[in-house]
Amino acid sequence: MYGYIIRRLLLAVPVLIGVSILVFAIIRFIPGDPARAIAGVNATPEYIEQVRRELLLDEGLHVQYYVYFTNLLQGDLGRSTFTRRPVTVELMERFPNTLVLSATAMIIASVIGLSAGIVSATRRYSMFDNISMLAALVGVAAPVFWLGVMFQILFSVNLGWLPSSGIGTWKHLILPALTLGLATAALIARITRSSMLEVLRQDYITTARSKGLIERVVTYKHALKNALIPVVTVMGLQFGTLLGGAVLTETVFSWPGIGRLMVDSILNRDYPVVQGAVLMLAVLFVLINLVVDIIYAFLDPRISYGNKEVE
């Protein structure tokens, strides 16, 4: 198991380096003069020249990347061309907000998705099953930003129960987290249902039932643990979709997170901040997948053994 974890950690290293190359390339691929694009439309020729020097744009690409990468390792992501503050400071101010939003959304998604999926599977073709699966179909198809606006209209404008945007109290968190979590909940519900149905057909479930175990024990102790394996994978992958969705949700609810910072920076052509935000979201996603893979190996020991056999 430890060998598997170490191997998985080592595999993440080239991916992270690759991500840094791609993020580095964002500025260099901008059509026209990158220095002018970064300095802004109204920049003086002197300032454009300063940006060119700071980013070593006259040097070869390998020199530029070497400097970028060594700075990155020291936590230096450059300065915002808009606020002139270090990008790392900008990101660190926003990061906890994105983390709180995504984590809360994931918790909501897991609770709703798992319970709806389990109940649907155990009461197949019941009214609850039909309604929840229809809701799941709609939940996957509904654009997250539209859902957010609909919640604002209903809960903030019409009912006045919750604040429509901003940050501060727990009340501010409810609508954005619910908006962000529902699509994932829908997907988790569908996967849980089909996975549970698959497991409930297995022989060892019949054996458990024929031993006279009560249905609750069969469902939760025998079936659920095995049914959870594909669900955990989907949850890990969904975290990526969720982080992508956070960009939209944060914009709808004026939630000061990394996603909103990124969008504002793109519109302001503040490329160093765009790079930083993209890098942070990608690295976060890689790390989450790493954790999911390790959890997966714990849930299903065949995975780490399987890898050993290949060696």
Binding site: P14, I26, V278
Partner: protein, 299 residues
């Protein structure tokens, strides 16, 4: 009767109708009510996109400030926007943009991703390793983020959104096709084709790809839905279609400023996105079941 005459007689007999794989798939699909509902929704959207000018007397772009933010009425069934343009007309014309983005971006993703995946799976070795590490890096960008990155580099606009969303779907196709090719290339008929001295290119096109078609079609149906959602998201963020184009995501974004007075500007474009995406997803679900021999047997 001579032997020749007998043979002629046999040739004249009608050949027994054999069900092809696709006939079976269609027959299965037709019985799936949800998939048929999805198909009807999509055909409706297609008709709307083609015949939009015949369905509404209003122009989606010409402004009429005297009639701004009008509530839904018999003249304007879904009201008007902040510039007095008919909301329904903009939604009807908007289906052209969303369908075009969905179809074109998926075509771009397929044209790049499928050949790379096929070659990667077929040749294996160092080439495969190299391609897969690049795909690992692209997959490290969650969901819509890769599309946002590409738009940042290329600049905003509908054409760039198509390219961006297309590029963002390349890794999905590469992985999918590689997996299918790996499974198919070990089959006996591929070994037979190789033994006959048929060239690699021909083997891939004639013998391997037809067997990977099912997963590609299913994935593409879902991918169009995702592309439409991503493109609307980019439009919503101000990175997609630009005014005065009636793009649903952008309409919704601007409509947000009027949620207290004119919520029809946000409700209906969102519903349009939802139904179009739902249509593709339902067909995708149906196709997946229909192409899976296991689930066909269950019925």
């Amino acid at each position: 009767m001579s032997a020749k005459n007998k043979a002629d007689e046999i040739c004249k007999l009608p050949t027994p109708k054999r069900d092809t794989e696709w006939t079976l798939v269609w027959r299965h699909l037709r019985r799936n009510r949800l998939a048929m509902a999805g198909l009807i929704v999509l055909v409706l959207f297609l008709l709307i996109a083609i015949f939009a000018p015949l369905l509404t007397p209003h122009d989606p772009v010409i402004t009429n400030l005297g009639n701004a933010l009008a509530k839904p009425s018999s003249e304007h069934l879904l009201g008007t926007d902040w510039l007095g343009r008919d909301n329904l007309a903009r939604i009807l014309y908007g289906s052209r943009i969303s369908l075009a983005i969905g179809l074109i971006s998926v075509t771009i993703g397929m044209l790049i991703g499928v050949p790379i995946g096929a070659l990667s799976g077929f040749y294996g070795g160092k080439f495969d390793l190299f391609i897969q590490r690049i795909i690992d890096i692209l997959i490290a960008f969650p969901g819509i983020l890769l599309a946002i990155v590409v738009v940042t580099v290329l600049g905003v606009g509908v054409e760039n959104v198509m390219i961006a969303v297309g590029i963002a779907s390349v890794p999905i196709y590469t992985r999918l096709v590689r997996g299918s090719v790996l499974a198919v290339k070990e089959q006996g008929y591929v070994a037979a084709a190789k033994a006959l001295g048929i060239g690699d290119f021909r083997i891939i096109i004639r013998h391997i790809m037809p067997n990977c078609l099912g997963p590609i079609i299913v994935q593409s149906t879902f991918q169009i839905a995702t592309a439409i959602l991503w493109a609307a998201g980019l439009g919503f963020l101000g990175l997609g279609a630009q005014p005065p184009d009636p793009e649903w995501g952008a309409m919704l974004s601007k409509g947000r400023e009027y949620i207290r007075t004119a919520h029809h500007l946000t409700t209906y474009p969102g519903l349009a996105i939802l139904f179009m995406v739902l249509g593709f997803n339902l067909i995708g679900d149906g196709m997946r079941d229909a192409l899976d021999p296991r689930s066909r047997k269950h019925r």
